[in-house]
């Protein structure tokens, strides 16, 4: 009797877990189906080539060229990676290898805090400080590719730092000892032994950071200027894919609205490619161990 009851408990428990698992799957699937079912007809109507490579975006006038936004998203992400990744990795090295224990734990807290700040606060900070500074130096208003890259560069720091730090830390002690025993200096050990050994984890952190940068919306809208043109200089205004959706969502109807869903489809493809890359890196990390 008692055993039987336990079995029933066990079964109920399993079912509960299954249901919870299903909810997240259903969420992912329904979002995907919804976006594609709204977006694909729009892409068909506009024409895939016109949609992706058209250079003019004016939905109320029947112009649906997404190319400036695709380029904008790529540029901003690239800029954020160029600013955030070197700083992030070096900070990770500092925290895991060089900093005294107390300083390191203080640093970790700070990084966690950085991760917890809402993105609209980053954006507002950027609008009030970085944008006027760029206006002062380069002119042209300050809302620009550069401003967006700097803000996103700061925003991806926590991702880069925490994952890189974990992977640098997980490099076996023997490698460190071996390198130092051969007479190599600390710095030589870090750059020639530790970082190459932790390569996969660091690359994974970069891919995750790219995902964060490409998906960020609110902060970018505030500092990027949102002009749907291909930027030719760092101080020029840009619009990203996410900003394009968020800006016009409230006003769009009909084909315009579906074109915004189609923008979501393009973003989705970007994210899927990133996830495949991430999976490859994760596999490599697994093989290393």
């Amino acid at each position: 009797m008692k055993l039987n009851r336990k079995k029933i408990y066990e079964k109920i428990n399993e079912r509960l877990l299954l249901i919870c698992g299903l909810i997240s799957i259903i969420a992912v699937l329904s979002i995907t189906i919804f976006i594609f079912s709204k977006g694909i007809p729009a892409i068909k109507e506009i024409g895939l080539k016109e949609f992706i490579f058209g250079e003019e975006w004016q939905p109320t006038g029947g112009r649906f060229g997404l190319y400036p936004m695709i380029v904008g998203s790529l540029y901003v992400t690239l800029g954020a990676v160029m600013i955030g990744v070197p700083i992030g990795i070096l900070t990770a090295v500092f925290i895991s290898e060089l900093a005294p224990k107390r300083v390191a734990s203080f640093y970790r807290r700070l990084v966690e805090l950085l991760a917890g700040i809402p993105s609209v606060v980053y954006g507002f900070f950027g609008l009030a400080t970085i944008v006027p500074a760029i206006d002062l130096i380069f002119g042209g208003g300050g809302n620009s590719l550069l401003a967006a890259s700097i803000i996103l560069g700061i925003m991806i720091l926590p991702t880069v730092i925490s994952i890189s730090e974990t992977s640098i830390k997980s490099v076996p002690m023997e490698l460190r000892e071996g390198s130092l025993a051969l007479g190599a200096s600390d710095i030589y050990t870090i750059f020639k032994v530790l970082i190459p050994a932790a390569r996969s984890g660091i690359l994974a952190s970069i891919v995750l950071a790219i995902g964060r940068a490409i998906g960020e919306t609110m902060a970018v809208i505030l500092v990027a200027g949102n002009t749907p043109l291909i930027p030719k200089a760092l101080a020029e205004r840009i619009r990203t894919l996410t900003a394009n959706i968020a800006l016009e969502m409230g006003y769009a109807y009909g084909l315009h609205q579906n074109a915004l869903f189609a923008t979501g489809v393009i973003l989705f493809v970007f994210i899927i490619v990133l996830n495949i890359l991430l999976m490859k890196f994760n596999k490599k990390v697994g093989e290393n161990k």
Partner: protein, 300 residues
């Protein structure tokens, strides 16, 4: 492991039970509330004993006014709940057509395909669109043609207008915005292409800000900028320009002297409920129009 399963199962069961019961109890209390409030209505009715909820959705330009009107209306009718949401003209028109909102707000003229749904329009006010610059800007009066040239990008330096030798930075709104649509219409900043599409002729590299507030925030931080906002958003962080010698004020728009102005609509679809009818009547009454007159221009 076994030790943990029992509490876990119990906990999850309790959670499920709590969820189901709270769900039920909410429903029942909700129904009770409805019942009792209805019965008390008959007893001590305030004025005419109206009750119900009005959802008003639409233009962000109409929102501030709709909010103060709603506030006053629910003071008079304590059992009426008002929800005002500013999401943009197009979304508001859509919401009133498909019935998700009781009343839609629009700050632009309806398109033919929108009118063909049989939607009803009530002109409740006029609004001025104010061309704004940074407070330090020395330019203070422009004519319609000059404004048009500036936004088309034909005049690009403030010195041509008697200001400093600085490039003009245009701040505009996102495509689809009611304020932008009205501004383009009034200033003839649109052109038709060969296939009949209406295209904006506002300079393509204009900075795009999302909403009246964001335009203001950008202009107040950039000395060489120019933009346009709804009259109800005008304050001293920016400087409103005169258009052909006329300042944008309630009086000048009412008299038709200030040229950059447009109507505000409330929209309904299908049969109007008693509450909605009363509210619309209230807006057009002297009392309602007085509230309108605080920021916008009353109909009469």
């Amino acid at each position: 492991m076994k030790k943990f399963t029992k509490p876990l199962v119990l906990l999850s069961l309790v959670l499920v039970l709590i969820l189901t019961f709270t769900g039920c109890s909410n429903k029942t209390t909700g129904a009770n509330k409805g019942g009792t409030s209805q019965s008390t209505d008959d007893g001590d009715s305030v004025e005419n004993g109206l009750s119900g909820t009005i959802n008003i959705v639409g233009s962000t330009s109409v929102t501030p006014m709709a909010e103060s009107l709603s506030e006053e209306f629910s003071k008079l009718n304590k059992d009426v709940k008002m929800n005002v949401q500013g999401v943009g003209s197009t979304a508001g028109i859509k919401a009133s057509i498909d019935g998700t909102a009781d009343i839609g707000m629009s700050s632009r003229n309806l398109k033919d395909e929108e009118k063909s749904t049989g939607i009803r329009e009530y002109t409740i006010a006029y609004d001025g669109i104010v061309v704004v610059v940074h407070p330090n800007n020395t330019v203070s009066d422009l004519d319609m043609e000059t404004i048009q040239k500036i936004f088309k990008g034909e005049i690009t330096n403030w010195k041509d207008l008697g200001g400093k030798d600085e490039e003009i930075l245009i701040v505009s709104r996102e495509d689809g915005s009611g304020t932008r649509g009205a501004f383009e219409e009034i200033l003839n900043l649109q052109e038709k292409d060969s296939s009949g599409n209406t295209l904006s002729t506002i300079k393509k590299d204009a900075l795009i800000a999302d909403g009246n507030g964001s335009v203001k925030a950008n202009i107040s931080r950039k000395e060489n900028s120019i933009g346009y906002i709804s009259l109800s958003y005008l304050d001293d962080t920016v400087k409103g320009l005169k258009v052909e010698g006329v300042e944008a004020t309630v009086e000048s728009i009412q008299k038709g002297e200030y040229k950059v102005s447009r109507p505000f609509f409330m929209l309904t679809m299908g049969e109007e409920s008693e509450v909605v009818k009363e509210f619309l009547a209230f807006i057009l009454s002297d009392e309602g129009q007085k509230i309108v007159g605080e920021k916008q221009v009353p109909v009469n």
